[in-house]
Amino acid sequence: MPTADLVKLMPLIITSSGAILIMLLLALKPSHKVVQVSCLAVYLFDLIYVLSSSEAFTYHLFVIDGFGKLFMGLVLASGMTITLISYTYFNEKEENPKVFYVLLLLGTLGAQTLCISHHFISLFLGLEILSMALYALIAYLRNRSYAVEAGMKYLIMAAFSSAFLLFGMALIYAETGSMNFEQIAQITRSQQLVSPYLITGFGLLMVGAGFKLSVVPFHLWAADVYQGASIPVTAFIAIVSKGGMLIILFRLLGLTQLVTILPISTLLLIIAIASMLVGNLLALLQNNLKRILAYSSIANMGYLIAALLSIGADGLQTATLYTSIYFIALLAMFGVLSILSTKERDADSLNDVKGLFWHKPMLATIITVAMLSLAGIPLTAGFIGKFYILKAGVDTHQWLLMLTLILASVFGLFYYLKIIVALFTEYPQTVGETEQLHPVSYVLNGVALLILTFSLIYFGIFPTQIILYIQTILQY
């Protein structure tokens, strides 16, 4: 890989060097603020670089195309917002919050490699870097017993499922002789009767991917880990780790049209329907906000797989659109929760949010818009996303899928409404006043969240820009 091409991988280089630099910086005992700002600088610089460079480039392990760049932009933007909100969250809770940012950058590095990989080795590399960072991040707040338990659980099950993933990859490699997505797809399509080895290979690969995306048969871990980890880390899992795995699925099955072969499409169909229904049903009677968001993420992964299934009519564009809108909504929600959290405990039970509208109307409006967007109500971007999925689904005559989507989103309405109702019920003000500690960062958080909410509403009413942007990006 000649040095000239190395420049193409600049985004990865920036993140990794940034991580190392911050590690070195820690030695000088800088204040928490300085570490956070430098981490933000790394993200910003990386984001600018990604958005500026334009020409496409494919190499053995990596392919830098519009699709990858878009997802990388998403991952970096979410990483940046997470660093923003984690300052206030960790400032008074943790004795040395500074190491958090290093882990965050490493995690993002893993996700970035996933974004641009189209080869098994780079897939494995990215995935494991991401997972390693996650193990430590989940167990970050050591003194809280939940975190360590969640970290342990995640570690063992992640390792367990990556073993499945590897075994699957090995089988596929054994059958097709190559580890490159396009070649694999080409070979599998050429075989009339797909060989059993290959099918089991894809099946095992799906197990590994299914665990990472917490779709139905492998969703059991999601709720516990979401609840155990601290809020910025939960945001990181929900967005960056799932985003990374999603793009792999889109590349492996979507771009290569592999999803159209019968065994894989029926498997995905069952997984999609099951996760849509189970995700929403689980969340119906749940009162812990983090667990509700975990179950709703199961359901949303179901919607995304449904979008992937109707790949015929620009399903990929629908999937990317829905993912980005979903992430924006999640970021807004997690941002508000982290602002509400106190020293002793996270703001994850419904009572923390009760009557919020009458004390802090701004935060409550953000939550309402985020919830409405997740529920897919017009006036918010969520509706456009859901509308696109319905459109793609109806175009490819996936009636069963569409009806389950309608039924599931009706169930979904119920628990999103439960949160919105809690906002508006009369409830005495119990949450202590924490804004005075460091007003500047609260204002910064507020501005970031407001931008997110405004973008949710703006895309809801004038979605043309975002649709055009995604179309142009996916072209080259």
């Binding site: 494995f124 167990a139 367990f160 073993a163 075994f167 090995a170 580890m179």
Partner: protein
Amino acid sequence: MISNLSSDYVFLLAAILFALGAMGVVIRRNILFMLIAVEIMLNSAGLAFIAAGAKWAQADGQIMFLFILSMAAAEVSVGLALIMQIFHQHKTLDVDELEQLRGDRK
């Protein structure tokens, strides 16, 4: 270069190893042994890769195995750190103690 026929046997061995590892994770209650079982599974996946690489006479399989080894090592180290922390807090390594996080009771 081992012939095609023999590579099937190696896959069989890898599969058996994989199944044993999986059983190990499910049966054992001590976290340490679960970690070991996961290691077995990772190695069996590595074995499968080497067999596949041999079948196509390419070096990719072995390179992949190297990555798997390094990943397994890193993962175990983080695992052991976490086990230390659990032992510090819960005074036990029994996995069934670790069930404060649960969804079936309000």
